[in-house]
């Protein structure tokens, strides 16, 4: 606590950096992942190869991936964001695909039977109904991004990892704590915000008498 109180400016700056890294990578990941996911629901034959590739990317240890990206992107924010996007794809693509594909087929049929165009079906039916599953992926990815971004301190991306590694090198628990506390708050807070957002977007499920379905998170 001591370090935080003595250096509030530094902690705040690093926290903001950390938020920046996570936010950018999660935002870009969602856009790319959801689009790829939607494409996979239309061209099912690509599902195997694409999900396979995303799965492989997901298994590469983060430090190794950061290192491999240095020749292409140098140090700093760019390789970090790129790596986080690669990591996020599996969860987002997979959840988008299963979110859309697990919608009751009769609902899709009704949408088509009433004369919706492909886009209308996507925006009025598939995405809203697939949202719970997609959001589960987003929450997973967000917490992961906040965690993995810590390691990116090694390739000079900044963020709260700086404090943790500094503390480890100097064996100063105060400094480690100054990095870890905001990190924990960040992860829990981000998840909480997403849960609230999800509830707002899913009023139609909230409104029903409690079935236990919506009490997750």
């Amino acid at each position: 606590m001591q370090y935080i109180l003595q250096n509030p400016g530094t902690v705040l700056k690093l926290t903001l950096e950390h938020i920046q890294i996570s936010l950018i990578s999660v935002a870009v990941s969602i856009v790319i992942g959801v689009v790829i996911g939607i494409i996979l629901t239309r061209i099912k034959i690509l599902q195997g190869p694409v999900l396979g590739l995303a799965g492989v990317l997901y298994t590469i240890p983060s430090l190794a991936l950061f290192a491999m990206l240095i020749p292409f992107f140098g140090l700093g924010l760019k390789p970090t964001v790129f790596a986080l996007i690669l990591y996020s794809q599996l969860a987002i693509i997979r959840n988008t695909v299963s979110g859309i594909e697990t919608i009751d087929p009769s609902i899709i049929e009704v949408a088509e039977g009433m004369g919706m165009t492909g886009w209308q079906k996507l925006f009025l039916v598939e995405l809203p109904l697939g949202l719970p599953v997609i959001m589960a992926g987003v929450r997973m990815v967000t917490v992961m991004a906040i965690g993995v971004a810590t390691i990116a301190s090694y390739i000079s991306a900044g963020g709260l990892g700086d404090l943790i590694f500094l503390g480890m090198q100097t064996v100063d628990l105060n400094v480690i704590f100054a990095g870890a506390l905001p990190l924990i708050i960040l992860a829990l807070g981000a998840d909480r915000i997403l849960v609230l957002l999800q509830r707002k977007l899913e009023r139609w499920r909230e409104d029903l008498p409690s079935t236990g379905l919506v009490k997750e998170g």
Binding site: V110, G115, W204, R205
Partner: protein, 373 residues
């Protein structure tokens, strides 16, 4: 209105629909029925191009639909399936206004239409508009489904077992309401079901399908009276005698020559009626309602200066004249009665149904069809 010419649909090697020809006239209620996998749903879905035929063509109002934009086509055809077809993430109002919204109606007109339709299907607009499908009962959701199919007042409606997921009591009630609604809106309806009773209740014509082919397409009476082959006979079921009863209205079959007496008429007056050849005497209250009957034995034992009320058997069940003979039989069985009174809408007795009359009807070689009435 709708014409199917040699329509075939092949899935792989299976012919789901095989050389089907159908001509559905405007305002007609056509029921497609058959065992599961017989091709009835596929046939229906080809009409709004959810499925395209492998061969043959379908014409709506003389135009080949394969040349039309499926999106535009579907917006002009009402579509209702089992109650789960409501979009769970949209309010009742949004569900009903879906097609108007796709057609970009002004907001105000959409809202008016929603209110109008909810009222039409018997739901209070203010209460239900902003609810979500899950907050409604099965029957209520089904009403919303029908309202949605009617939203842009399409001349044609396709319905795929819309009452299938309801419990029997609600289903019966919905069916009765739907018949009344159809009398108002007069749509051309293609209705898929596997429930023969439902088919007989609604249909102007029933098309019985098996293995992709139409085995028989005929009026309910003819299906029951003259099944084309063993398959139809089996499909209709061994209780077809009972089913016939459900096709005949009480008022078409009742004994109309009845006489009425008041409780305070004298026995002499009653005897006078019998002497004039009357055999069916119903005792009615001052209000006009049937309250009982008298029989000849009691009459003969009683002095002439006494009153009818003293020998009235105070138990007579009644059935409304617009019910079916099946309903009448149910009342008779329930009350262990050999005969029951038929009352009109003012609850006045207008006739009688007796068990011998029912026997006579089911053994008649030919029914008066409803059209002749």
């Amino acid at each position: 209105m709708i014409r199917l010419e040699n329509v075939t649909k092949q899935f792989g090697v299976v012919k789901a629909v095989d050389q089907v020809n159908l001509h559905i006239t405007p305002g007609e209620f056509l029921v497609l029925i058959g065992p599961s996998g017989c091709g009835k749903t596929t046939t229906m879905k080809m009409i709004n191009r959810l499925i395209d035929p492998s061969a043959g063509r379908i014409l709506i109002k003389g135009k080949d639909i394969s040349a039309e934009d499926p999106i535009q086509l579907r917006r002009q055809i009402g579509y209702a399936i089992q109650e789960i077809g409501l979009l769970p993430h949209m309010t009742i109002a949004d569900n009903i206004a879906l097609v108007p919204r796709l057609l970009k109606w002004p907001k105000k007109k959409q809202r008016q239409r929603v209110e109008e339709l909810l009222e039409m299907v018997g739901l209070d607009a203010a209460t239900f508009m902003h609810k979500y499908p899950r907050q409604l009962s099965g029957g209520q959701r089904q009403r919303v489904g029908v309202a949605r199919a009617l939203a842009v007042d399409p001349p044609i409606m396709l319905m795929d077992e819309p009452f299938g997921a309801l419990d029997p009591i609600t289903r019966e009630q919905m069916q009765d309401e739907f018949i009344k609604l159809q009398e108002q809106v007069k749509k051309t309806i293609v209705f898929v079901t596997h429930d023969m009773d439902e088919a007989l209740k609604f249909a102007d014509r029933v098309a019985i399908m098996n293995h992709g082919k139409i085995i028989q397409c005929d009026s309910p009476e003819m299906i029951l009276r003259r099944p084309a082959n063993k398959f139809v006979r089996d499909f209709v079921g061994s209780d077809h005698t009972l089913k016939q009863l459900s096709l005949i209205k009480v008022k078409e079959a009742m004994i109309t020559d009845i006489d009425t007496l008041h409780p305070d008429n004298t026995i002499a007056q009653a005897k006078e009626l019998f002497k004039r050849g009357s055999s069916n005497i119903v005792v009615v209250a001052k209000t006009g309602e049937a309250i009982g009957y008298i029989n000849r034995e009691d009459l003969n034992k009683t002095p002439e200066d006494r009153f009818v009320s003293e020998i009235t058997v105070n138990s007579i069940s009644t059935v409304a004249s617009d019910k079916t003979l099946k309903d009448a039989l149910t009342v008779m069985l329930k009350n262990d009665a050999g005969y029951i009174a038929v009352s009109d809408e003012n609850r006045k007795p207008v006739g009688l149904i007796t068990s011998s009359r029912l026997r006579q009807i089911v053994s008649e070689p030919r029914l008066n069809s409803r059209e002749e009435q």
